[in-house]
Symmetry: C2
Amino acid sequence: MAELADRLADGEVSTEHAVLAAHRTDEAYLVPSGWPLCAVYAHSTADVVETMRWATEHRIPVVPRGAGTGLAGGALAEDGAVVLSLERMTAVRELSVDDRLAVVEPGVITADLARAADGHGLMYPVDPGSAARSTLGGNLATNAGGFRCFKYGVTRESVLGLEVVLADGRVITTGHRTTKGVSGYDLTSLFVGSEGTLGVITGATLRLRSKAVGPRATVAAYFPDAAAAARAPLALARDGLTPSFLELIDEVTLRALHAWQPLDLPGDGVALLLAEFDGVDADRAAAETGRLCGKLNAVATQVTTDEAESERLLDIRRHALGALERMGRTMVEDFVVPRSRLGDMLVEIRRIAARHDVLIATVAHAGDANLHPTLLFDRTEPEIPARVWSAADDMFRTALRLGGTLTGEHGIGTLKRRWLRDELGDDGTGVHQTIKSALDPLGIMNPGKVL
Amino acid sequence: MAELADRLADGEVSTEHAVLAAHRTDEAYLVPSGWPLCAVYAHSTADVVETMRWATEHRIPVVPRGAGTGLAGGALAEDGAVVLSLERMTAVRELSVDDRLAVVEPGVITADLARAADGHGLMYPVDPGSAARSTLGGNLATNAGGFRCFKYGVTRESVLGLEVVLADGRVITTGHRTTKGVSGYDLTSLFVGSEGTLGVITGATLRLRSKAVGPRATVAAYFPDAAAAARAPLALARDGLTPSFLELIDEVTLRALHAWQPLDLPGDGVALLLAEFDGVDADRAAAETGRLCGKLNAVATQVTTDEAESERLLDIRRHALGALERMGRTMVEDFVVPRSRLGDMLVEIRRIAARHDVLIATVAHAGDANLHPTLLFDRTEPEIPARVWSAADDMFRTALRLGGTLTGEHGIGTLKRRWLRDELGDDGTGVHQTIKSALDPLGIMNPGKVL
């Protein structure tokens, strides 16, 4: 480690207990992690290169990490690994208005880039729930989603190119400064979402977009239950309505929110669909959405273009997890079903909750049918109870049976490895292992994650 | 070959001279190709599996192909290879309105899917110039672009998942039926655009979108020269205007069009910018674009919502290559520069034309700064003259120097292999070779293409 410290230009190596303790976990609180050998704070790409060369020479595993806000255990340390923190690489190297792009280092906080873009009349639309704390490097490693994906896509859709340090310390750049480009294989997409198992992302060229013009318009529609609310996104899509925010809050979640901070609800046990529109057509689209929800038997509908009232409504969704966390310990899940099966999946979740005797509260990015059921259990439980694991297992298998996928935006990490083969199949898993071995022959890049 | 024919369930093997002649080339007319051993017409995934198993056993190269409309020589046969035609796998296996997707076989003609989607009130937006003849399999293999990419993205942005037969005959499915999904590596993107060098695409789940509502609005703006016209796309982007079609036609091309079928031009030597808007805001956006072009010293501007007049204007662009082909033999190029450098690149092209004494006529997908310069030379030339190659070389190096990329939508194929290392770098090329060897260890998948 002294040798490693010598080789770093600006970076630092720490073996302090408090530093190791702070860098051995992420927000997959319930999964055990090991104790790393040391933590490296990289200040530059050169520091990452030296760290990877040293790790290759000594065959020491490396766990890259950003702010540690991941929910799937992708940044959990293992015993004897080097934790490589990118959080001090915080430069926005470039922001070009005409080329509509930013070149960033991985430690830039997501919301900071959004603010910088906004200051230039542009938008960085990717908006994960943790945007105020998460780093772009972590967003890239997990292909993070968030509230605006239905209209603006996930992180991948905003990446033009990457700088990546490979396991042996070679540095490659992938992609382009241009939006289009088909020269060679799409390595950019291969590294995005690979959760640190193929290389370390040390830079990214990110696409910025035009800021939506005009006032936003927001719709809140209350339905008798979540499955009824789930019919609305299909009706919106049929009418070509594309909200920038489309969230479903089921009756269990809404009751928890109401118990915390009383809401003006049209009845007990209702579910809520929230839609926001941006752009010149926002007003008309919101009014049309309100009408559609009425036809689909919404018990109450509100349409507003008032900024403060809009924020109050969207805050209901933003506070959902906070309200649930007051009720006990939580295991937040993340999977996707085909759009047409959102209602079916919500009905299945009710059945699964009853079958395994677990309280499950569900919110969903409804436009993409990306569900986040939260499984609740008592604070006194020393670890995740078996019935919670079986309920989760039941949900994953049901989502796959309905044609869905195990994770929409949190990643596989440590938490979902055991189910991945069910989704990929044996040959699909084999191809993943082939690519992993080809790029990381010593198996030192974030071992034990994803595969 | 008799053994292969026996093993195919429905497919056919042909060694007829006329069949081989028809399947040894694509539309990279100027590049020499070899004579294949035989042509296989696959009728099913099982046929492709048997072909690849047989090819692996006998170590025989396989060149997959669709309609042969590629412009970069990605489907050129080599001596002794099997040409594997997917053009008879033409089923649309599924079209789901609620899930907004189609599951297709690779031989479906691009325009046929667009029509099928349209019949269900949906849109398949990818619109390459060859859409009436090209197959979706070919579009996927080259990550084809076209006229609508600026607003709707290239082929990749419309792919949810693939069925791929690997070199050894294993079949994998990649991606999802859902829009979001981050389970495992993004193998979908790895195969899209890999030009048949990593596997054979035998099926695809493609994303469909809402059809734009309301009448289209079209703008034609004439500028003193192409570089002046190139300032308009930047101004549009700054104002958040996103046309569904934004094409630049330089003065050389416009003169050729006018010589063929006289146009109502406001002067000799002018360049034309064509913009079309769809959606509820089309009218306002087109009027605003007309005003912006006026401010940027357009010599004449026309804005119309008349369908027939719109079509007449867009046809000017569609007929550009036809008009140029009347003037001699053509070599159509394809590269991209950062948006801010479109004007600079157009100026450089004029200099390069003069320096190498080659007539160069340029059209561009202007929103993405994807240029298609056509190099013209005499029909009597037996092969591509050296000065044409040097002009092309000069253009590619200039595009790379300006921060661009070698190809925006045609691919590397055979035509651009010699320049690829200049763009990818040695380590980037090394990673490409590592992935190629990992997935195709015998090197039988479309050898000699891309790398």
